[in-house]
Amino acid sequence: MGSELALIALSAMLVNNFVLARFLGVCPFLGVSRRMDSAVGMSVAVLFVMTVASLATWLVQRLVLTPFGLDYLRTISFILIIAALVQLVEMVVQKSSPVLYQALGIFLPLITTNCAILGVALLVQQKDYGFLQTMTFAVAASVGFGLAMVLLAGLRESLALASVPRSFQGNAIVLVTAGILSLAFMGFSGLVRG
């Protein structure tokens, strides 16, 4: 059991990294990675929401959708749960911890349209994971997301000082950089089978 969880974690974090191998959450990956502090803020917000959202969607699937044979409502119900959850988290954080809200506030609304969150919820159902596996998968996936985010933010901060050919300025060089980062992560493939 323990080794299985470790394999799930390793696979979600490195081998099948959410951003660099599965292409989930590319928009925030490219959008808010220009500075290191915003990259870290986004990663923490994703870690938080992804864990809670995976738990909520897993419970809804087990307690409502499966018993009543409502599988076709999965997409609609999951996205509504995620949207409602993000709103709730935002309100709770705002009331309870102004410091945390100041750090994460601007990232929270964007998370609803982060496909990594819905992606994890749907992948968990596809793989038919149990409770512990779901939680491990969600935490590892968001740690992998954060890892890729922080790496790219570091690269972009040094890229800002480099002289880039005119045509590549802007998004093009960021995409190529992300590609090389992804190439580096390909080195992990074969570490875990499946």
């Binding site: 964007l110 496909c115 992606g119 998004n171 995409l175 590609g179 390909m186």
Partner: protein, 247 residues
């Protein structure tokens, strides 16, 4: 990089380029609040619809200019067929949801419009998902997770909120069809290039002899990032080519 408005990678896809473009891009003949009814200037409406349609294809191409909806773009374009299928599914969802959003735009209070739009979009995504599972099962298996993920594609929600939520139905449809076609063409182009380089074929037809050393890189994930970067750079080079003035 952020000096050019159409290239803005703002952290807020719903409010950045869409609204400003919707405000500046349309014609002056038909104020957005007035729906088509008898007495409408049909010629002006028709011209606006043409402009709405064309805008999404090149000038505000979702992928190359706005960098929205990149997740499915990078993930499914391992071949031209996959890219085209994903593009068509997204186009269908966009047109249907923009039509519905525009039709009910007066009924939905501003405060809850985003959740309402998401429900509308999710409904059509479910329809497309189930239909593809029934009629194109193999394709459905290949695209897998990314069909339900059309729900969180920023372009769909972006166009619904920025354009369809404030314009009459015909223009909303034209705008969605334009952006959707731009998205489809971008996916088709990226898929075709990656398939030709990565497996030496196009639409499953072999182009080269068996001795062609396929660049495996281009069908693997890193190739998607690198190729899209190259294509964006190519577009930027073309836009800034000598003798063109400031683009």
């Amino acid at each position: 990089m952020q000096s050019e408005p159409t290239m803005t990678l703002s952290p807020s896809p719903l409010t950045s380029s869409g609204i400003t473009s919707a405000a500046s891009g349309g014609g002056v003949a038909l104020p957005g609040a007035i729906p088509a009814r008898p007495g409408t200037n049909w010629a002006a409406l028709w011209a606006d619809m043409g402009a709405d349609f064309r805008r999404g294809i090149v000038k505000e191409n979702p992928i190359f200019r706005q960098m929205l909806g990149l997740c499915p773009t990078l993930a499914v374009t391992t071949s031209a067929v996959n890219g085209a299928a994903m593009g068509m599914a997204t186009l269908a969802v966009m047109v249907a949801s923009s039509f519905s959003v525009s039709a009910v735009r007066r009924v939905i209070p501003g405060g809850v419009r985003i959740p309402a739009y998401i429900v509308i979009i999710a409904t059509f995504v479910t329809v497309v998902d189930l239909m593809m599972n029934a009629f194109a099962h193999d394709l459905h298996k290949t695209l897998g997770l990314f069909i339900p993920l059309i729900v969180v594609n920023c372009i769909v929600l972006g166009r619904a909120d920025a354009f369809a939520g404030r314009k009459p139905i015909p223009r909303a449809i034209a705008d969605a069809a334009g952006s959707g076609t731009g998205f489809l063409l971008a996916l088709l182009a990226l898929g075709a290039v990656r398939e030709v380089l990565g497996s030496g074929s196009l639409f499953g037809v072999r182009l080269f002899t068996e001795s062609y050393p396929a660049f495996l890189l281009f069908v693997l994930p890193p190739g998607a990032f690198i190729m899209l970067g190259m294509m964006v750079a190519g577009g930027s080079f073309w836009a800034n080519r000598p003798g063109r003035g400031e683009a």
